[in-house]
């Protein structure tokens, strides 16, 4: 469905110069700096997948989305979306894709929400029947009944974002790009949006690419994850593979009946000790919580035990911070 091959995008950024003299100098002979926003990126996305496209700020996520939507022309490499080159076939490509940017709006600000849908319906040349059907379905799934007649500028962020998603899907595109769609949205609206994305994917087999900083969202809906850092894809794997590879650390929390004691363990590491509690970090390949507890001297009463496991959120936070080897 979507193919990127050795995709790169460079931006030439003019350096404004420092101070008055520097700015005057740059007025006469501007200096440019080349920034590689996307650097030799390749991936392939099958029809019906939901991809979590992750990376810290400025990693190149949004630039990739703009390359995929055909707004930006690649500096080198190629993109194919539904067998088409998006920049060469902008108008045809537009029918294949729906785009939502969490920090932007494609709705007509001063008009009631419903007007935006009507305009888009005309723009995408939907028949009256298809428009009615799609609108009805989207309104009920995204629960937009109460605010569809309100001017867009009066909507809350959560309401507006549901409107944005409906606007992107009105023409039933097989591909949906979501660029931080839940940013700033409250928990209820957010869950509604995430459930909707899953439903859409299951029922209509829409291919979804979701970029977000909210790793819990990704954990919930994206089976496959791509991580980009400094313009390069550093990881492309399924959630299971990622957990398998990076999520090996577990944390055992033990609460004893009385004060703890000196303890040496053959495997695992005591990371914290507090009153009568002990935290032991261990690698699940090397030992198990059961074995660890078995190593405690007998006669020491244990009041409580709990285990925390790495999840996608903590693993990806580690990758952001320490890279793949951390």
């Amino acid at each position: 469905m979507i193919k990127a091959l050795n995709l790169s995008k460079e931006f030439k950024v003019r350096q404004p110069g420092q101070g008055v003299l520097g700015k005057l100098k740059s007025l006469a002979s501007p200096e440019y700096k080349i920034i590689k926003a996307v650097d030799d990126v390749s991936f392939e996305i099958q029809s019906g997948e939901i991809i979590g496209y992750l990376g810290p700020n400025g990693a190149g996520k949004s630039t990739t989305i703009k390359l995929l939507t055909g707004v930006l022309e690649p500096t080198s490499g190629s993109v194919k979306v539904a067998e088409r080159i998006p920049t060469r076939d902008r108008t045809r490509n537009a029918y294949e894709i729906g785009v939502v940017y969490g920090q932007r709006s494609q709705l007509w600000w001063d008009l009631p929400l419903i007007d935006s849908f009507q305009i888009l319906s005309a723009m995408y040349k939907l028949s009256e029947l298809r428009y009615e059907e799609n609108l009805e379905r989207l309104v009920s799934l995204l629960q937009m009944e109460e605010f569809i007649d309100q001017p867009v500028r009066k909507l809350s962020l959560g309401q507006r974002m549901r409107g944005e998603i409906a606007a992107a899907l009105l023409h039933e595109p097989p591909i949906l790009y979501l660029d931080e769609p839940t940013i700033g949205v409250d928990v209820v609206s957010k869950n509604r949006i995430l459930e909707f994305i899953q439903k859409l994917n299951q029922e209509k087999e829409v291919t979804v690419i979701l970029t977000t900083h909210n790793l819990a969202d990704v954990e919930k809906v994206c089976p496959r994850i791509l991580i980009i850092d400094q313009g390069r894809i550093i990881l492309d794997a399924s959630q299971e593979q990622i957990l398998e590879r990076f999520g090996k650390k577990r944390l055992l929390e033990v609460e004893f009946e009385d004060q703890p004691f000196d303890l040496t363990l053959p495997v695992g590491e005591i990371v914290k000790q507090e009153e009568n509690k002990l935290w032991i970090q261990f690698d699940r390949d090397q030992t198990s919580a059961f074995d660890l507890v078995g190593q405690f001297p007998r006669g020491r009463g244990i009041r409580d035990v709990s285990i925390t496991e790495d999840n996608i959120e903590s693993v990806i936070a580690q990758i952001y911070e320490h890279g793949l080897d951390g």
Binding site: K12, L72, I119
Partner: protein
């Protein structure tokens, strides 16, 4: 074609409605134009004191020219430059470039909606006002009216294309206000919006008459007040058509360059 018209109509209506939301804006525009009409009407009366005609044109012809010019100017001198530039700066241009409609046409539909709004709320009231309070000489010939309307439609399209080119040029510039005022002033002076071009001194006049700006106001207005002899008509209209073709080609050329070079950063 029918579907195309539907797309256009929906976008035009949307833009019309958006425009009508801002009542204060409309009232201020109306007020400003009224003052201008009054001032220029008086100015020409003073300039014509003691003379019957300048360059073969009477006071009444000239007054008719400027009063109509001031009334329809709000239809012709609108600019998308600040709006387009704002969309580039905010990055919202990413939506416009991923639509199944050519960006130039999106702007044209929006422009036509604004045209309808301005016509209803500003130009028509101004024309009515002028007819009631000033002596205005209107042509009797149906043929003159038809040629005027044809020329006026081309005038609108010429103005639109010039503005589109300026707006596309704005893709490369961080602050567009310099370009905005330059375009506006060129249009008003070289287009003959304030002063009919026949009063311009030679050889300046001959040069200006070859430029595309005259097609925005001077050509239809001079047809209306009888400043174009029948044998000059083909040349006047032909020049409008010629410049529309050139501007259309150039705007497409610029658009192709713009989308290639476009850099939308952040968010």
């Amino acid at each position: 074609m029918v579907l195309m018209a539907r797309t256009g109509l929906a976008l035009i209506t949307a833009s019309l409605q958006e425009k009508l939301v801002y009542r204060f804006d409309l009232i201020m525009g109306l007020l400003r134009a009224l003052i201008q009409i009054f001032v220029f009407h008086q100015l020409w009366a003073v300039l014509f004191t003691g003379v019957d005609d300048y360059a073969g044109f009477t006071l009444e012809q000239t007054q008719t020219y400027v009063v109509i010019s001031m009334s329809i100017m709000p239809l012709l001198d609108r600019s998308f430059l600040p709006q387009v530039n704002e969309r580039i700066r905010s990055g919202n241009i990413v939506f416009d470039l991923a639509r199944p409609v050519y960006y130039g046409n999106l702007l044209l539909y929006q422009g036509l909606g604004q045209f309808a709004a301005t016509l209803l709320t500003t130009s028509l009231p101004l024309l009515v006002f002028s007819f009631v309070f000033f002596s205005i000489a209107m042509p009797d010939s149906v043929f003159t009216w038809i040629t005027f309307l044809a020329s006026f439609c081309m005038a609108y399209y010429t103005a639109f294309l010039m503005d589109l080119i300026a707006s596309l040029w704005g893709f490369w510039i961080a602050s567009v206000w310099g370009l905005f005022y330059a375009k506006w002033n060129l249009l008003q002076i070289l287009g003959g919006m304030y002063i009919p071009l026949w009063f311009f001194p030679s050889p300046f006049k001959e040069i200006v008459l070859l430029l595309p700006f005259r097609g925005v106001a001077f050509t239809p207005l001079s047809i209306l007040v009888g400043g174009v002899a029948p044998e000059e008509l083909p040349m006047a209209l032909g020049l409008q058509i010629f410049w529309i073709i050139m501007l259309l080609w150039f705007s497409k050329f610029m658009y192709a360059r713009v989308v290639k070079k476009l850099a939308v950063q952040g968010g």
